[in-house]
Amino acid sequence: MLRTFADILGTKLPDNAGEDSFSLLPLLRGEDKPIRANAVSASSGGTPAVRLGNWKYIPAPGSGGWGTGGDQAQPVQLYNLADDLGETNNLAAAEPGKVAEMKTLLEMLITAGRSSPGAAQTNDVKVVRYPRAAGRNNTAKTAK
C-alpha cells in the first residue's frame, strides 16, 4: 500500500521506508502484468514460506502454527501450486535444485533488508533462520 500511495501522490520513498512495498498503481490503471516476483508469508509460529512464481518453499515441516496440515515426513516442504493448490504433494526430495534456489532466495531477502529495488537496509534484529538450528536463541538482539 505504502508505495502505491506514494506513486499516486507522485512522491519518492526514502530508501529506509517501504522496504518490501511495491506499487500496485499499474494494476489499478488496468495493466495485468504481475507486480512482485516473490513474497514471504509467515505462519503464526514464525515459519516463513516463500513464493516464487508457482513454487512455494517452507523451510520446516508441518503447518508452522495451530493447524495439523503440512508434510511432517521431510525437513522442508516444496509445492508447485500450479497443480497442487492444496499443498498435498511435497516435492522437496524430488526437486533438490529448486529447494536450493528457494533457500538462497529467502536468505537473500533477509540479508538485503528489503525485497523492493533500492539500497540494502538493516533488519532490526538478527532474523531467525529456518530450518532452525538446535539450541538457537530466538530473540538474539544483534541486527544482521
Partner: protein, 443 residues
C-alpha cells in the same frame, strides 16, 4: 507531445464498399443486402441512401451514412478496434513511468449522431448522377430536431435497434441510437484494456439542451463533447451540464474544442481556463489547428497556461482495514456461500477492482498489520513469531515495544512524504503505543 487517439467509427468506411455498395453492380463490393448497413429515408429499406452531404466549413458529398445499429457494420468496427487498441496499449505500457501521460486518451465516436454530419436532400439519390456543383446549397437547420430541417433519417438504425418500427421518429430515438453506438465501442475498448480515465466518447449537440448530449454518457468511458459556441465557457452549455450530472465518470473531455471569440491573449487564456475550471475536465483537444497555427495570441495563451504551475492533485485515500474478516465473508468474493449481505462493499467492488491473489505477511493479526502499515515485512523486527503482547502493559512493560516504534517511524516518514498521516483507529494493538509516543499528536 501527448497523443489523443481518435478511433472513429463513422467516417472511415470509404474503403469498405463491401458494406455500403448496394446499388452499383459495376463497382466493387456490390451486394443488394448492403441496404441493411446504410441509413434509409423511410421505414422501407428500398429507401436506402446512396449519398449524403457534410458541411464542415464547406459542403461536400459523402458516402451514405452507416446504419449505426447494423450487425455487420458493428462487427466491422469491432474488428478494427481489436486490431488497433492492443497496438496503442502495447506502446503505452512500454513507456517509462514518467512518460505515461503521453497517452492523453483514446476516443470512440465522432459527434455520433444521425442526420447532422451526414444530411440528405430530398431526392438526393437522384443527384448522384448529376454534377456536384448543381447540388442544393441551403444545408441543414441543425437546431431543428429531429429532422434538422431536411429529410428525416434514422429509420434504419431505429428499426434495427428495435426501438420503433413505424410512425414518427423522435429526438429520443435518435439520441438512444447514438448512445448505444458509443457505449458499444466504449465497452469493447474497455474490455480490450483501455482504463476508464483514458477512454472518451465524442458526443455533440446543436440545439441547447437537446437529448443527444446525453448519448456521450456510459459506464465504460468518460464523456466528451465538441465545444464551439460554448468553448469560451463550457459551464454555460446546459446540455453538457445536464449530461455531466448523470455521469459517474472520473473525468470528461472537451474532445473537439475551438475558441472562436476575440483573438487576444486574454480572451484565449480565459477560454482555456474556464474550460479547465471544472475539476472533472481533464482534456482539451484543440481542432482546426491550421486556423490558429499563425495566431500569436492563441499560442501565447497556450504557452502561458502550460508554464503556470499545474496544481498537484492530492487525492484522499481511505484504507478500510477490517479485523478478522475472512475472504469469503464479503459477498462479491463469495456470492454462492457468503452469509452476510455486504451491499456497500459489493458496490465499491463493482465500480473498482477486486484482488483475488492476495498474500499476507503473517497468518496472525499484529504482524500482518505492521506489514500493511509500513510496507515492510514484520520479521525484520523483533516480532519473529506470535503477536504483540497485549498484557505487557499490565505487567509494567511497554506493549508493542520496538515493533510499534518501527510503525511510528514508518508513518512519520510517510507524513514527510505526503504531509498527512493516516489516522489509525483499530484494535491493531499497535495504536495504543502510537498515541503515547512522545512528540506525536496526530496518531
Amino acid at each position: 507531445m501527448p497523443l489523443f487517439i481518435w478511433l472513429d467509427g463513422e467516417y472511415w468506411w470509404q474503403h469498405r464498399p463491401d458494406l455500403w455498395n448496394w446499388w452499383d453492380p459495376t463497382k466493387p463490393g456490390y451486394d443488394p443486402r448492403n441496404k441493411e448497413n446504410v441509413e434509409w429515408f423511410s421505414w422501407n429499406s428500398d429507401d436506402a441512401l446512396k449519398i449524403s452531404w457534410l458541411n464542415w466549413g464547406r459542403q461536400i458529398r459523402m458516402l451514405p451514412p452507416p446504419n449505426l445499429m447494423s450487425p455487420r457494420y458493428r462487427a466491422a468496427c469491432h474488428e478494427k478496434m481489436r486490431l488497433l487498441v492492443p497496438i496503442i496499449l502495447d506502446w503505452w505500457k512500454a513507456l517509462p513511468a514518467d512518460q505515461r501521460h503521453l497517452l492523453a486518451g483514446v476516443k470512440v465516436g465522432w459527434e455520433s449522431s444521425i442526420g447532422v454530419n451526414n444530411f440528405y436532400y430530398p431526392n438526393g439519390n437522384d443527384l448522384l448522377d448529376k454534377p456536384a456543383d448543381e447540388d442544393p446549397r441551403h444545408g441543414i437547420k441543425a437546431t431543428e430536431v429531429p429532422a434538422r430541417g431536411l429529410v428525416q433519417l434514422g429509420y434504419a438504425a431505429v428499426k434495427t435497434a428495435g426501438i420503433r418500427t413505424e410512425g414518427q421518429i423522435t429526438e429520443a430515438d435518435l439520441a438512444e441510437v447514438a448512445r448505444r453506438h458509443m457505449e458499444d465501442l466504449a465497452r469493447l475498448a474497455s474490455e480490450l484494456g483501455v482504463p476508464r480515465d483514458r477512454l472518451y466518447t465524442h458526443g455533440a449537440g446543436w440545439k441547447e439542451k437537446e437529448l443527444l448530449y446525453g448519448a456521450a454518457v456510459n459506464p465504460f468511458s468518460c464523456p466528451g463533447w465538441s465545444f464551439y459556441r460554448h468553448a469560451g465557457d463550457p459551464s454555460k452549455d446546459a446540455g453538457v451540464q445536464e449530461a455531466l450530472a448523470r455521469s459517474d465518470a472520473p473525468h470528461w473531455g472537451a474532445v473537439e474544442w475551438l475558441y472562436q471569440g476575440p483573438r487576444t491573449v486574454d480572451a484565449w487564456r480565459d477560454a482555456l481556463e474556464k474550460t479547465l475550471a471544472d475539476p472533472r475536465c481533464r482534456l482539451i483537444c484543440i481542432v482546426n489547428w491550421s486556423s490558429i497555427k499563425d495566431d500569436a495570441a492563441a499560442h501565447e495563451a497556450l504557452a502561458a497556461l502550460n508554464a503556470a504551475d499545474a496544481p498537484v492533485e492530492k487525492p484522499n485515500i481511505i484504507v478500510i482495514l477490517a479485523d478478522d474478516l475472512g475472504y469469503g465473508d464479503v459477498q462479491c468474493y463469495n456470492p454462492q456461500c457468503g452469509k452476510i449481505p455486504t451491499p456497500s462493499i459489493d458496490t465499491l467492488a463493482s465500480q473498482g477492482m477486486r484482488f483475488t491473489d492476495g498474500h499476507s505477511s503473517s497468518g496472525v493479526c499484529s504482524p500482518s498489520r505492521y506489514a500493511l502499515l509500513t510496507g515492510r515485512y514484520h520479521w525484520r523486527t523483533r516480532l519473529q513469531n506470535g503477536i504483540v503482547g497485549v498484557f505487557a502493559r499490565l505487567q509494567g512493560r511497554r506493549p508493542g515495544g520496538r515493533t510499534s516504534r518501527a510503525v511510528h517511524r514508518a508513518l512519520a516518514r510517510h507524513r514527510q512524504a505526503c504531509q498527512r498521516v493516516p489516522p489509525t483507529c483499530s484494535s491493531s494493538r499497535l495504536a495504543p503505543d502510537l498515541r503515547r509516543h512522545p512528540g506525536d499528536e496526530t496518531a
